[in-house]
Amino acid sequence: MKLLYFAWIRERTGIHEETWPLPDGVTSLRDLVAALAARGPGFAHAFADLKQVRAAVNQETAKLDDPVSEGDEVAFFPPMTGG
């Protein structure tokens, strides 16, 4: 799957964009966040406070319990501050 990180989530993971294989047993965004947070301290820090994390699946805003599958583009970012 394609993963994207923005703003301070990008800074903490140290990655803007990557291709990552969907781990076994991961079916929801919640599962994916748990798997990512286990990748190292930067990722753990990025996902430490889920109240501050938003996500999109295939460029549509998504909820934690929404499904994810191989081939999806999943993005993580803080609350938006446009305008």
Binding site: A7, V53, A56, Q59, K63, P78, G83
Partner: protein, 149 residues
């Protein structure tokens, strides 16, 4: 209906003329231009850098505009949002809503701005005397917590 995401500045007069070219049914046009302020939450801001999510941004802006056209009696509308680094006084965003009636134009323009603040994938980083600081979403504007939890 126009939505655009761009690094470059825009000219509000030219945007309005292009949007309304040949129209004779528009009675009023409300616009809002957002600018970089030198002060934000009582701290000095040297400049602002706007990061966005190319691809999703355009879709989000189009969805916001479609929602405005659903809710208000407007005949034309535009959203132009910049990204990249901007200094105080520079223009960040422009929305325009045109209607036969002025109340609808005002209402639609304000709606576009309200939704842009929380539903378009932009993130602002401010250059402050203490280094760069990500702008935090205002609790009052942000109902996304419910969606997410």
């Amino acid at each position: 209906m126009v939505v655009r995401v761009q690094r470059d500045d825009f000219d509000i007069g030219r945007e309005m003329d292009a949007l309304l070219a040949g129209r004779r049914d528009i009675g009023g046009v409300a616009s809002f231009t957002g600018l970089v302020r030198a002060f934000s939450d009582a701290r000095n801001v040297g400049a602002l850098t706007l990061e966005h999510y190319p691809g999703m941004t355009e879709k989000a802006l189009a969805a916001i505009e479609a929602e405005a056209r659903e809710r208000f009696d407007i005949q034309a509308s535009l959203i132009v949002h910049r990204f990249g680094r901007m200094e105080p006084g520079e223009r960040i965003v422009l929305v325009i809503a045109a209607s036969a009636h002025r109340g609808e134009a005002f209402r639609a323009a304000e709606f576009l701005m309200d939704w842009l603040k929380t539903k378009a994938p932009f993130w602002k980083s401010e250059e402050t005397p203490d280094g760069p600081q990500w702008v935090e979403a205002r609790a009052a504007d942000d109902n996304a917590v419910e969606r997410w939890s």
